[in-house]
C-alpha cells in the first residue's frame, strides 16, 4: 500500500508544470481563471500549444502520434492543467473520434482524418443526442438512406445539444440506416462535412445566457459512403466504445481542487459579522464536508487509475466517479455563489465576453462575483451530460444487482 507517485511520475509532474508555467500564455489562463468566455481562437491556441509539445492526443497509441503515457501520467497532466486554469481540450475530435477511428476506421480514414485532428485542420462536433433521444440514445431517429447510385447516404433528421457545433466544420453522427431493425441494431456511425448543402446550425442559448450548444438540422444531406466508419448497422459498437473509452479524468479532481482553493480564498476575504466567512460555523461545516468528500474521491480516483494501470478495466467505477465528481464540483460552484452573498446577483455579460477584466466589479464584490452565479447555473449540466447521473446509477445497478 503506497499512496505516493513514484520518482518517474513526480519528474513527469515537474515537466508538465514547467510547460504550463513557461509555454502557456498568461492571457489565456487569466481568461479561464476569471470565468470569461473563450473564443474559437483561444481553444485553437491551446490545442496548437499541446500539439507542438506532442501532448494533444495523449489518449492515442504512440503509433498514431500519442505520447505513450500511462493512466497515471494522463491523470497528472489533466490534474495540473486544471490547477493552472488552462482551457479544456475540446474533446470531440481528439478524445472521442480519434480513438474510434483508430479502432474501427479504415486505413484511408485514419490517414486522412487523424493528422487533421492533430493540426487543427478540422474542428469536430458530436451528433449523438436528438430531441427524442437523450438518455435513451438508441431511440435516435435521424435516418441515412443510401441513394440509388449507392455512392451517397441521404441524411434527414435533427441533432441537438451539439457543443461548440457553431465552430465545427465536421460532425460525427449516429444515424439510423435500417429502420426495421431492433433499436440498437440498424445504427451507423457517419462522418459529415458541415458545409454540405442541407445542414443548418441554430444556437441554443443556455440559462446562463451563453451560446455553447446548438441544434443541427439535416435535410436531404448527401454524405459519401466512404464516410461510414466501421460496418453499416454496427455503429452502436462505435458509440458504446466512445462512451466507455478510458475516461481518466471523469472525476475532474483537478477542477474541484482548484475550485475548493478558490472558495477558501473568497471566503477568507468576504467578512460576515466582523469575521471572515471562512470562520462562520455553518459555512465552515459545508466547506469541510465537501473538502472531506473531495479528499476521499481523490483516493477513490487513484484506486481506479491504479487498477487500470494494473490491467483492470474500469466498469462501474467510471460511473461512480462521474456521479461523485459532478456532485462535488456542483457543490463547490454552489459554495462559491453562496460565499459572495448579494454580490453574486449582478450579471455583467459584457465583462464576461471582454478581452480583459479591467472593468470595475458591479455590486462592489470580489471579481469572482462576476461569474460565480452564471458558472453555478452553467455547471448544472455536469450531472446531465455524458450520461445523466441517474443513467450512471442504472448502469451500476445493472452490474451490482444483476438485474
Amino acid at each position: 500500500m503506497d499512496l505516493n507517485f513514484n520518482d518517474d511520475e513526480l519528474a513527469f509532474r515537474d515537466e508538465v508544470q514547467a510547460f504550463l508555467d513557461n509555454d502557456v500564455p498568461a492571457a489565456l489562463t487569466d481568461k479561464v481563471r476569471s470565468g470569461r468566455h473563450l473564443s474559437k481562437a483561444d481553444h485553437e491556441q491551446w490545442h496548437a500549444l499541446l500539439h507542438k509539445k506532442g501532448w494533444l492526443a495523449n489518449h492515442w497509441p504512440e503509433a498514431h502520434g500519442g505520447p505513450g503515457w500511462t493512466a497515471v501520467q494522463k491523470f497528472i497532466f489533466e490534474h495540473e492543467c486544471a490547477l493552472a486554469y488552462t482551457p479544456r481540450t475540446v474533446p470531440f475530435g481528439v478524445n472521442m473520434l480519434g480513438p474510434v477511428l483508430i479502432k474501427y476506421g479504415s486505413e484511408a480514414q485514419k490517414q486522412h482524418w487523424l493528422p487533421r485532428i492533430l493540426d487543427g485542420s478540422d474542428w469536430w462536433c458530436q451528433g449523438y443526442s436528438e430531441p427524442g433521444a437523450g438518455s435513451d440514445l438508441a431511440g435516435l431517429k435521424t435516418t441515412a438512406i443510401k441513394d440509388p447510385s449507392g455512392e451517397f447516404y441521404v441524411v434527414n433528421g435533427q441533432k441537438t445539444w451539439t457543443t461548440l457545433g457553431h465552430h465545427a466544420n465536421m460532425i460525427f453522427c449516429l444515424v439510423r440506416t435500417d429502420r426495421e431493425a431492433k433499436k440498437q441494431e440498424g445504427i451507423s456511425f457517419l462522418l459529415i462535412d458541415m458545409a454540405t448543402p442541407g445542414i443548418e446550425v441554430r444556437p441554443i442559448v443556455t440559462l446562463d445566457g451563453e451560446h455553447e450548444v446548438n441544434e443541427v438540422f439535416f435535410t436531404d444531406v448527401k454524405v459519401p459512403v466512404a464516410n461510414l466508419v466501421g460496418t453499416e448497422n454496427k455503429g452502436w459498437t462505435c458509440a458504446k466504445f466512445l462512451l466507455t473509452y478510458e475516461r481518466t479524468n471523469i472525476a475532474g479532481v483537478g477542477f474541484s481542487v482548484a475550485a475548493l482553493a478558490r472558495v477558501k480564498d473568497v471566503a477568507s476575504k468576504v467578512t460576515s459579522h466582523g469575521r471572515p466567512l471562512l470562520h462562520d460555523p455553518l459555512f465552515a461545516a459545508r466547506l469541510a464536508r465537501v473538502e472531506i468528500a473531495l479528499e476521499n474521491m481523490k483516493t477513490t480516483n487513484l484506486r481506479v487509475i491504479a487498477a487500470v494501470a494494473g490491467g483492470g478495466a474500469p466498469g462501474v467505477e467510471s460511473s461512480m466517479l462521474k456521479i461523485l465528481g459532478t456532485e462535488i464540483r456542483q457543490e463547490l460552484t454552489s459554495l462559491l455563489r453562496r460565499a459572495l452573498g448579494p454580490a453574486a446577483l449582478p450579471f455583467p455579460t459584457d465583462v464576461l465576453h471582454a478581452a480583459d477584466d479591467d472593468a470595475p466589479v458591479a455590486g462592489g464584490g470580489l471579481p469572482e462575483a462576476r461569474f460565480a452565479a452564471a458558472s453555478y447555473f452553467n455547471n448544472r449540466k455536469l450531472s446531465i451530460f455524458g450520461g445523466s447521473n441517474e443513467i450512471q446509477k442504472n448502469i451500476i445497478a445493472k452490474t451490482m444487482l444483476d438485474c
Partner: protein, 395 residues
C-alpha cells in the same frame, strides 16, 4: 502508487474471515451475548493466536506489525464479521496507551500486562469517558491525589466498554486543575486492578451487542499504578484514541460491506408484484448510493491509515495535524455513511429488517453506534475545521 495490501495482511484478513465463518458465527455470537458473561471470553485468546492482536503493535512494542494499515485490515475483518469482543477497548485503547507509555520495555512495571493483552489472555479497558461530557475527550472530573507512598483515586466513569468483564482498568483522573486553554493538561492515567477494594462496577448490555459498565472508584493505589508522567497522560490518551478512531472507521467499513451484500442478496431473492425487488429502480438507486458511500469510506480509511503511519519515528507537529485531520475526515465519513448504510439496509429489507433474527439487523445497529464512540460526526467535523483553519468554531 500501490493499493494492494501486502501478502501478510491479506493472509491475516483471510484467516480472520475463516475464523468468523467457523467459530464466531451469528448463532454463536447471539449465544455469547445471552450468556452470563455477556461475551465469549475464549475468542479473544483465539484472536491472539491468529496474530490479530499482535498485528496491532509494532515489533518494538512487542507486536508483529503495528502500521495504520495493519490496524485497518484487522478491524475491517472484525467489522465484516460483526465481532463484538473487547478488541477495541483492550488491545487498541488500553493496549495503545500502555504501548505509548513504553510498557513494552522489559523493565516496565506493566510489561506483563501489555504482553497479556497482546496475547488475548487478559482483558483491559480504558476507563476515560464520564457522564456529562458528551464527546469532549478532555472532560475528566475523576481525581487522584498522593496518599502515603501511593495514590487515592476517586470518581465515576460511564459506559466503560467491557468495564465489568475487564481484569484491568486504565483510569484517567485529574492530578492538577485544568488550565485554560489546555484542558488536556493535568490528567494522569492509572492502572487499576478491576478487583481492587473500592471499585464498584455495574454491568449492562449495549444496544449493539457488547457490554459496558458504569464504574465508581474510591481506591488506594500503589505508586507504580501511575502510567507515564504525572499530569501528562494526554499524549497517551491521544495516541490510544487515534488508534481507536482508525480501528472504528475500518470496522465500520467492514460492516458496511456486509450490510450491502446482505441487502443486494435480499433484493435479488425477495419477490413482490411478481418480480424480484432488484427490478425496482427506486430501490436500485438507493443501493447504488450505498455502494458509492462505501467506496468513499474505503478511500477515507486508506487516507487515515496512510496518515497514521508506521510508528517508525515520533511525528512532528505537521505530521500529527495531518494524521488527526485524516482521522477526523474518516470518522466524519463513517458517521455519515455508516448511519446511512444502516438505515438503508433496514429500509430495503422492509419488515424483516426490523427483526432480531435477521443477522444484518445487528450489523446495522453496530454501524449506527460506532458514531457514538470516540466522537461523533459533528465532533469530528468541528475538529477537522479547527485543525484545518487553526481557529476553533464559535457560533
Amino acid at each position: 502508487m500501490d493499493f494492494q495490501h501486502s501478502d501478510d495482511r491479506r493472509m491475516l484478513a483471510d484467516a480472520l474471515d475463516r475464523w468468523v465463518g467457523h467459530t464466531c458465527t451469528f448463532d454463536a455470537r447471539l449465544a455469547a451475548q445471552a450468556s452470563e458473561a455477556g461475551h465469549q471470553r475464549a475468542w479473544l485468546a483465539q484472536l491472539g493466536e491468529l496474530g490479530a492482536l499482535g498485528a496491532l503493535f509494532t515489533e518494538a512494542q512487542g507486536g508483529l506489525a503495528g502500521a495504520g494499515f495493519d490496524i485497518a485490515v484487522v478491524f475491517e475483518a472484525l467489522g465484516k464479521g460483526n465481532v463484538n469482543e473487547p478488541v477495541l477497548t483492550s488491545a487498541v485503547l488500553a493496549g495503545g496507551a500502555l504501548a505509548a507509555a513504553g510498557a513494552f520495555e522489559a523493565s516496565h512495571a506493566h510489561q506483563a500486562l501489555l504482553s497479556a493483552i497482546q496475547a488475548g489472555e487478559t482483558v483491559a479497558t480504558l476507563a476515560h469517558f464520564e457522564a456529562g461530557g458528551h464527546h469532549d475527550t478532555a472532560h475528566v472530573q475523576a481525581s487522584a491525589r498522593r496518599e502515603g507512598e501511593g495514590w487515592r483515586l476517586q470518581g465515576h466513569k460511564a459506559v466503560v466498554p467491557f468495564g465489568a468483564q475487564a481484569q484491568w482498568l486504565l483510569v484517567s483522573a485529574r492530578t492538577a486543575p485544568a488550565e485554560a486553554p489546555k484542558r488536556e493538561h493535568g490528567i494522569s492515567l492509572f492502572v487499576v486492578p478491576a478487583d481492587a477494594a473500592g471499585v464498584q462496577r455495574s454491568d449492562y448490555p449495549t444496544i449493539d451487542g457488547q457490554r459496558a459498565a458504569d464504574i465508581h472508584l474510591d481506591v488506594a493505589l500503589p505508586a507504580h499504578a501511575l502510567l507515564g508522567t504525572e499530569h501528562k497522560a494526554w499524549p497517551l490518551i491521544d495516541e490510544a484514541i487515534a488508534r481507536g478512531l482508525l480501528a472504528l472507521c475500518a470496522e465500520s467499513l467492514g460492516a458496511m460491506q456486509t450490510a450491502r451484500d446482505a441487502t443486494i442478496a435480499y433484493l435479488q431473492t425477495r419477490q413482490q408484484f411478481g418480480v424480484p425487488l432488484a427490478r425496482f429502480q427506486a430501490l436500485q438507486h438507493r443501493v447504488v448510493d450505498m455502494a458509492i458511500a462505501i467506496e468513499q469510506t474505503r478511500s477515507a480509511v486508506i487516507n487515515a491509515a496512510a496518515a497514521f503511519g508506521n510508528h517508525q519515528a515520533e511525528p512532528d507537529q505537521a505530521t500529527r495535524i495531518a494524521r488527526d485531520m485524516a482521522l477526523s475526515a474518516a470518522k466524519v465519513t463513517v458517521g455519515q455513511s455508516g448511519t446511512r448504510v444502516a438505515e438503508e439496509t433496514i429500509q430495503l429489507h422492509g419488515g424483516i429488517g426490523m427483526t432480531w433474527e435477521l443477522p444484518v439487523a445487528h450489523v446495522a445497529k453496530r454501524l449506527v453506534m460506532i458514531d457514538h464512540q470516540l466522537g461523533d460526526e459533528d465532533h469530528h467535523l468541528a475538529r477537522y475545521i479547527r485543525l484545518s483553519t487553526g481557529v476553533p468554531l464559535a457560533a
